[in-house]
Each structure stands twice: as structure tokens, then as C-alpha cells.
Amino acid sequence: MLSKGLKRKREEEEEKEPLAVDAWWLDPGHASVAQAAPAVASSSLFDLSVLKLHHSLQQSEPDLRHLVLVVNTLRRIQASMAPAAALPPVPSPPAAPSVADNLLASSDAALSASMASLLEDLSHIEGLSQAPQPLADEAPPGRSIGGAAPSLGALDLLGPATGCLLDDGLEGLFEDIDTSMYDNELWAPASEGLKPGPEDGPGKEEAPELDEAELDYLMDVLVGTQALERPPGPGR
């Protein structure tokens, strides 16, 4: 934790001056930035901010102040990267912050987030290939990128990043979850009901079959087994 505050050497050409004056990131319209290449520089600052945003959202309980400040900074950077394009006004946020916003919204909806995470975990355990459709608004932010405003070309950078969040990040999130509850025999009927769907290859069309009734049943089973389950041990 202390390493966060430690000075660290830059790995690029700036190694000679570890904390050189950072003029390159300044607002392109600023008078003092004469020869800097703002677009390229801002892109790495943009990447850094996106990374920070994802890292913040991956926390089990994100620091709201940190999150809000990073999101607002990201909006500023983004606004400066495409100043001429027809950007929608801030209140109806463009696609990149909408990724953040969707994730923000989901971080607040605690129960649906727990549900989403439980079902995600279930999908890892039982071999389901995708999260159930009703949670589409939270699970696949990557899909919303496809419908992004075409003017924000730099947001292609965001695509693989969000993919990482879904595929690798969540997996990493649940590494320490005690999955012994899923070995319980109670799961057998539920999994048999769900498994044939994706594996038969019906794709998205079949997913809606996992409808409200199935979800309710799943939740009942989950809550029921959780009641039986002992609380997690002391090792955290």
C-alpha cells in the first residue's frame, strides 16, 4: 500500500529526470504549450484515467470521491481530444463516460450487483457461456461501445479494456470466493435446467428463456443455500 506513494522512475526516455515538468499534458489551448503534440500525449493520459477508473470500479466498494474525480477528469480529457466534433452535452454523457456511468449505476444497486456477481460466478462454475439477458444493462458495457458516437474515434481504446473487465477482471474478482457451496447437490436440478440452453448453440435467441421465473427460482435456491452456508472463515 505504501508503494502507491513512492516515487518511481519513468521507464521511457524521461528516465533522466524522474519528475520532470509535465507540460505535455496541458490543455492544448494553453499558451505555454507551444510544441507539444497534445493528441498523442492526451491519449496516454486518457488511458491512464481509464485504467484508474476500472481499477476503482473493481473495488468491492469503490471510493466514491476517487471515482467521481476520475470520471470528471476523463470527461475533460475526452472533451479536449475531440473538441471540434459534435459532442453531446455533458448531461447526456457520451459513450466512454456512459461505460463508467453504467458501471457507476451498477455499483450503487447493491442487490442487483450481488445478483449479477453471483450469477456470473455461477456461469463460471457451471460453464454457462453468457450472463442472463435481464442483466444485459450491467454485464456487457462492451456492447454499448458498438453503438458509440462515431465522432469519438479514440474510444476504440476503450473496447478491449472493457472486454478485459468482463473476461479477466471479474474472474480475478472472484478468485477468493468459496465455491464449495456450488458443490452442493442442490445445484444439480438448477444447472441441468440452464446448461442445455447455451450449449445447444441457440445463441442469444435462447437466452430469454432464462426468464423471470427461472431467476426467481435461482434466487430462492441461492438464498436458501446461503442460509445454510456458514459465514466465510477468518482468512480474508
Binding site: M1, L2, S3, K4, G5, L6, K7, R8, E17, P18, L19, V21, D22, A23, W25, L26, D27, H30, L45, L48, K52, S60, E61, D63, L64, R65, H66, V68, L69, V71, N72, T73, R76, I77, S80, P91, P93, S98, D101, N102, L104, A105, S107, D108, A110, L111, A113, S114, S117, P231, P232, R236
Partner: protein, 501 residues
């Protein structure tokens, strides 16, 4: 949690002193704040290693194995993360100094009594009481761990022989009573002196138990637990001047509590948007006015301060006053908002001013002027050109606190490299001092430090690139009436005193 300090007699200590901070309580020491913060006048009184003292003194107690392991494994040269001090606060007389740490412990220090034999020891603080205020919790519904770190401690004004303080972690506020016991009953009929039960058949006479003096014992007991009122992380608590209510503030809401009622609180500020996607601002700090029990302020991550009057409406979403300084166009950058985020807000003792701390400056505002501060002090402006690196390593999000001295003439705040800064509002002089082990000889005079910005570095100066950003002074406290300050550096608590004192 019971701690037995060495023999000490408190009978002649007047516990019943009341009165607001601003009027002297009759103590012989003059109000020495007028001397200001001239260079070279601060000396180290003592450096307290909080966890070491705790471990040594509590070896005999029956405590949980985690503490025992810590005391055996702890190396004096480095601190475990649980020992990091997270809050420091003097009580209203300055007799007591409380610290909270990341491990959920509260340690209270008491000022050494002035005695004719050891005049030079006056001003030293020794451990008075220590207890585990908060434990780590697990929220099973959300699968979330709730940290036990103490975010804030606030003292209640003393109204009887016992001391009361509020301590809070991210979710729960607790009211603790700290009291002394110097008598115990002796002469039970059914128990012997060691507490073992006696066989009733052996008892032939009856006696009345009597209270006899004993070695002083200090006990801390939780009197109230105010829980389940905050969805987000509590960042501030503030005791109202009516001494009956207090408020707790989290990122989006502020609640008003009555000390006697733990199952209800009033929500007085709510800035949560209907749609969380529209969230752009959070509450960062809040405080009640020192004299007007209907007035409070809260600061935001966008660098604004709102003053609210609870008489206006039940939900104080509409402010009475709005303090914001327009952005300086020459300093505009991507990080403008982050560095404008206010990390602490404090009323002056007089109630006429508020002081705010953002990343690079401390500002003093007159309550009667909303459009700009009346004073701005640069804490470490040399960092302005390093903001990108500080953003990268997250240091730009550090939350520094700020404090007033007793007469509101000097303000103090922390910085990096274990530096802390004092600004004299009258003389406009400022000084940078360092809280470090190297200068740790008792009564050693602190030498002012200087950061070299560019060009030739003088012998005693330190260059910006050599600053240690892991050594940050976030928490400091100033004695309410004397020039005694407490500075927390990781797990060390430094107490400095004005040499004139």
C-alpha cells in the same frame, strides 16, 4: 479494556471545569499564541510510538491473539499497517489528546501534571487509556468488508467527571465514556479477596463491604452505537454547540443525531442524484458552527462550500450561502477539479471564518463574502508542475487536514516528506518544519526546512525530486489554548511545543 497506569493521584485535578474554549479557564499559563510562529521557536516535547506503548502495557491483559502476535512480531523500526494513525484530536481543555488508527484502536494521552519537582516535564503527554473502538466487519448482504479504521474522533465538552468522545469508522459512530475509578469495594461476604466464592458454611459473621482507595484505573465503555444510517463512507462527524446533537456526513448524505437516540437520525442533506449516472460531486467534509447550533457547512469535491441553516427547512438541500472561488484561467489544467477538491473544512474558533484545504493551498473565507476567500496560502506550490506524476501514483487524491490555533492567528497543515507548514495570518510569515526521527532528541529545537524549487540548491535545502511522497502528514492538532501541537506521521505521534511556553 482496562489499563493501569503508574501511580498517579488525580484528586486535586478539577474535573468540573466548564466553559467554552475561548475564555481562559484560570490556568496559570498565559495565552501564548500571540507570539506567533516565529522561526526556530518550536521544540520537540515527546515522540510517542503508539503501538509499542500499547503492546508493553497490555501484555498482562487478556486480549485477543491478534494483539499478542502484533506485540511479539512488531519490529520497532517499521510499522504494521494497523498502527498508522488516522486521526488526532485534543479535547476542549487540551488535557487529553486522542488518536485513532487503522486498526480501529483509540489511544488517549493525558498531559503530565505540572509539579514543582519536575517543571521541565510539563507539556509531556503519557498514555491514559487505550481501547478497541471498532472491529472489522463483514456485510454479508453486499459481500463487503467494512474497515475498522477510525476516520474521525470528536470530543464532547466535559460535563462531569467522565470524558466522552465520538469515534467513527466508515459506517458506524460510537460514543465512548472514559472514566476513572480509584476506589473499590472490599469485604464481601460471599467472595474472598481474590474473588473466589466462599463456602457459605464457613461464614460465621456478616460484614458490610466498604469502599477503599485503590490504584487509579481508567475504563472505556461504549455508551451508544449509532449504526446503519450511512450507505456511503462517513468522512466527518461534528458535535453541535447545543451538546445534544451531532452530525455525521458521508459522500452523499448528512445525518443529524441526538446523543440519546441511536435508532433514528434525521437526514439533513442529500445530494444523491435520482440517477447515479448524473453523479458529479460528493461531500468531502462537514462541520457545525461553533456557536450557532442551527448553522453548519459542508464542502465538496468540486471545491465549493455550502453553509446551511437548519431553521430554513428540514432537508437543507438549498444552501443559505455558497462559497466558491472562480477558476484561475492561467492555472487551468485537466487536474483543476481534482486539486480544487476540498479535503477539510474548519470553522475558526470565533465562528467568523472558515478554513478549507485543497491539494495545493489553504484558504480562509469570511462568512460574509462568498465569491472568494480573503486569504490563500500556498502549501507546496512546487508540486503544481508535477501533477501528472502525482495523478499517476494517486498522491493527488491525498486528503490533508488543517487546523487553527487557539486564537485563530495561526493555521497549520501537513505536506509530504513529513513536512508540515504553519502560516501566521497577522505577520504573513510562514514556516516549514519536519517531524522526523532524526530530529527526535527531546527538547531539540526544530530547524525550519526549505524546499529548493530550481537552480542552485543550498546546503540545507531539499530538492523537489528528493521528497518522499510516502511520508505524508495528513493529521495534525493544535491545543485549544496553548502553543502545543500534535503531528501524526505514520505510526508516530510527535508533540511539539513553543519554546517560549
Amino acid at each position: 479494556m482496562v489499563l493501569q497506569p503508574s501511580e498517579r493521584h488525580y484528586r486535586d485535578w478539577d474535573h468540573r471545569r466548564l466553559g467554552p474554549w475561548c475564555s481562559p479557564t484560570g490556568s496559570p499559563a498565559p495565552l501564548s499564541c500571540e507570539t506567533g510562529c516565529g522561526e526556530g521557536s518550536w521544540i520537540l516535547v515527546c515522540r510517542l510510538l503508539v503501538p509499542t506503548q500499547v503492546s508493553l502495557l497490555s501484555m498482562e491483559e487478556d486480549i485477543d491473539t491478534r494483539k499478542i502476535n502484533n506485540s511479539f512480531l512488531r519490529d520497532h523500526s517499521y510499522a504494521t499497517e494497523a498502527d498508522i494513525i488516522s486521526t488526532v484530536e485534543f479535547n476542549h481543555t487540551g488535557e487529553l489528546l486522542a488518536t485513532g488508527d487503522k486498526g480501529g484502536r483509540v489511544v488517549i494521552f493525558q498531559r503530565e501534571q505540572e509539579s514543582k519537582n519536575q517543571v521541565h516535564r510539563r507539556g509531556e503527554y503519557n498514555v491514559y487509556s487505550t481501547f478497541q473502538s471498532h472491529e472489522p466487519e463483514f456485510d454479508y448482504l453486499k459481500s463487503l468488508e467494512i474497515e475498522e479504521k477510525i476516520n474521525k474522533i470528536r470530543w464532547l465538552p466535559q460535563q462531569n467527571a467522565a470524558y466522552f468522545l465520538l469515534s467513527t469508522n466508515d459506517k458506524t459512530v460510537k460514543l465512548w465514556k472514559v472514566s476513572e475509578r480509584d476506589k473499590r469495594p472490599e469485604g464481601y461476604n460471599l467472595k474472598d479477596e481474590e474473588g473466589r466464592l466462599r463456602d457459605p458454611a464457613t461464614i460465621t459473621t456478616l460484614r458490610v463491604p466498604v469502599l477503599r482507595p485503590m490504584d487509579l484505573m481508567v475504563e472505556a465503555t461504549p455508551r451508544r452505537v449509532f449504526a446503519n444510517a450511512h450507505t456511503y463512507h462517513i468522512n466527518s462527524i461534528s458535535v453541535n454547540s447545543d451538546y445534544e446533537t451531532y452530525m455525521s456526513a458521508d459522500d452523499l448524505r448528512i445525518n443529524l443525531w441526538n446523543f440519546e437516540i441511536t435508532n433514528q437520525s434525521f437526514n439533513i442533506v442529500d445530494i444523491k442524484p435520482a440517477n447515479m449516472e448524473e453523479l458529479t460531486e460528493v461531500i468531502t467534509a462537514a462541520e457545525f458552527h461553533p456557536h450557532h447550533c442551527n448553522t453548519f457547512v459542508y464542502s465538496s469535491s468540486k471545491g465549493t462550500i455550502r453553509l446551511c441553516d437548519m431553521r430554513a427547512s428540514a432537508l437543507c438541500d438549498r444552501h443559505t450561502k455558497f462559497f466558491e472561488e472562480p477558476e484561475d484561467p492561467s492555472n487551468r489544467s485537466f487536474f483543476s477539479e481534482i486539486i480544487s477538491s476540498i479535503s477539510d473544512v474548519k470553522f475558526s474558533h470565533s465562528g467568523r471564518y472558515i478554513m478549507t484545504r485543497d491539494y495545493l493551498t489553504v484558504k480562509v473565507w469570511d462568512l460574509n463574502m462568498e465569491n472568494r476567500p480573503i486569504e490563500t496560502y500556498q502549501v507546496h506550490d512546487y508540486l503544481r508542475s508535477k501533477l501528472c506524476s502525482l495523478y499517476e501514483n494517486d498522491c493527488i487524491f491525498d486528503k490533508f487536514e488543517c487546523v487553527w490555533n487557539g486564537s485563530d492567528s495561526v493555521i497549520m497543515t501537513g505536506s509530504y516528506n513529513n513536512f508540515f507548514r504553519m502560516f501566521d495570518r497577522n505577520t504573513k510569515r510562514d514556516v516549514t518544519l519536519e517531524a522526523s526521527r532524526e530530529n527526535s532528541k527531546p527538547r531539540a529545537i526544530l530547524k525550519p526546512r526549505k524546499v529548493c524549487v530550481g537552480g542552485k540548491r543550498r546546503k540545507d535545502e531539499i530538492s523537489v525530486d528528493s521528497l518522499d511522497f510516502s511520508k505524508k502528514i495528513l493529521h495534525t492538532a493544535w491545543h485549544p489554548s496553548e502553543n502545543i501541537i500534535a503531528v501524526a506521521a505514520t505510526n508516530n505521534l510527535y508533540i511539539f511545543q513553543d519554546k517560549v511556553n
